[in-house]
Symmetry: C2
Subunit: 213 residues, 2 copies
Amino acid sequence: MDTTQRTEQQQSADRRRRELLEAADRVVLRDGPHASMNAIAAEAGITKPILYRHFGDKGGLYAALGKRHTDALLDSLRAALDAPAERRERVEATLDTYLAAIEARPQVYRFLMHPAEGSQGEAGFDVGKHSAPLLRRMGEELAQVIAERLDLGPGSEQLARVWGHGIVGMMHAAGDWWLGERPCSRAELVRSLADLLWGRLAAAGDKVGGPGF
Amino acid sequence: MDTTQRTEQQQSADRRRRELLEAADRVVLRDGPHASMNAIAAEAGITKPILYRHFGDKGGLYAALGKRHTDALLDSLRAALDAPAERRERVEATLDTYLAAIEARPQVYRFLMHPAEGSQGEAGFDVGKHSAPLLRRMGEELAQVIAERLDLGPGSEQLARVWGHGIVGMMHAAGDWWLGERPCSRAELVRSLADLLWGRLAAAGDKVGGPGF
DNA sequence: ACGTACATGTTACTTGCGGTAACACGAGTG
DNA sequence: CACTCGTGTTACCGCAAGTAACATGTACGT
């Protein structure tokens, strides 16, 4: 039949696509985001045009690659956010999940966020535009959770979205900085961020002698 | 004398450098970050090797370009942060200054932050790694201000740095999202972010029937 | 006046990558 | 057996980064 044929072919094409993605994953994680299409094709045991037949262009490949990791990360975040516990505890668990993920596989993180600066300290310059997708998706998801579960009064819809993106950005920037400098333990970082979210900034007193922030 | 010679040459070289930077600025802001070195050289009325003599490589040029804008932005932020007013008011003024800047010149912002996706909806892919420098610098500056002026008890040094980078990340991500979707006025955005910083997240009540965040 | 040193500029090239066209092989089907 | 279609290859194009080698003006020491 036509349909069965199509299905078989589709399945085989999908398997192939997954294999190619895994090969690309290996190369990108080994060589950094500067990996050339030639290198990826070589790792997969084939040549360039096949990659292009599957993914269109390099952007397509990187987008597919990014989506895999993004989906995985979002799944763990959702799990942490859905755990049965107090709100602050869940917030801390979510922050910790994210930070643990970028700590465990910094290569993946660097690829997703700012794919420049390959492993070597080269003056590399090429980058993907993945950060936006990941950050945006996380922001939107968090906004939805906030809007669903929190009672924020009038304008809650918009407030939730601002907060979603804002909190995600806070987590992202702090995590990025922390990953580079490692100025403290993950637990301390989580606590500090949660404290910030919990209003300690507003509650803090001015230092003696100064104008206070 | 030798020194006077060196000085005169240095001065002329500096003038030239500034001219080149301004030309590069025009091209980048017109063509997006995909601008080729050839195009920039042409705009400046000269040819490629001269650019390379002045800036080493494209990264050097873009770094110099980024530094100009970054310095300017940081100056306005410092001014807003130093204004004589209540803390929350100053925080709002600073947020507003940043958002006003990215609103007024989105081209510059896009170049500094994620220089991909040129004005045309191309599948563009090349990017600079400028976001890190700008975000890092803003984070560190804010951290210093917090540490200097706020009384945060033990561990205040680290706490201030986490908060600095976290707040900057919040501002950045929210601003980036807002700039793309324009879901509300700038003033509303500022208010929402300040509310988040002021602990409204912690103070919000759970929605009826749900587990509450 | 003349060669020397140096800054400033150019042309023409190499290298490397993204992307594509054209061709080659193998298997199932009338 | 011819036909097609999926899968693969080689060989190429275009373009941008970066460089080598060469030209030219100008101040200086002798």
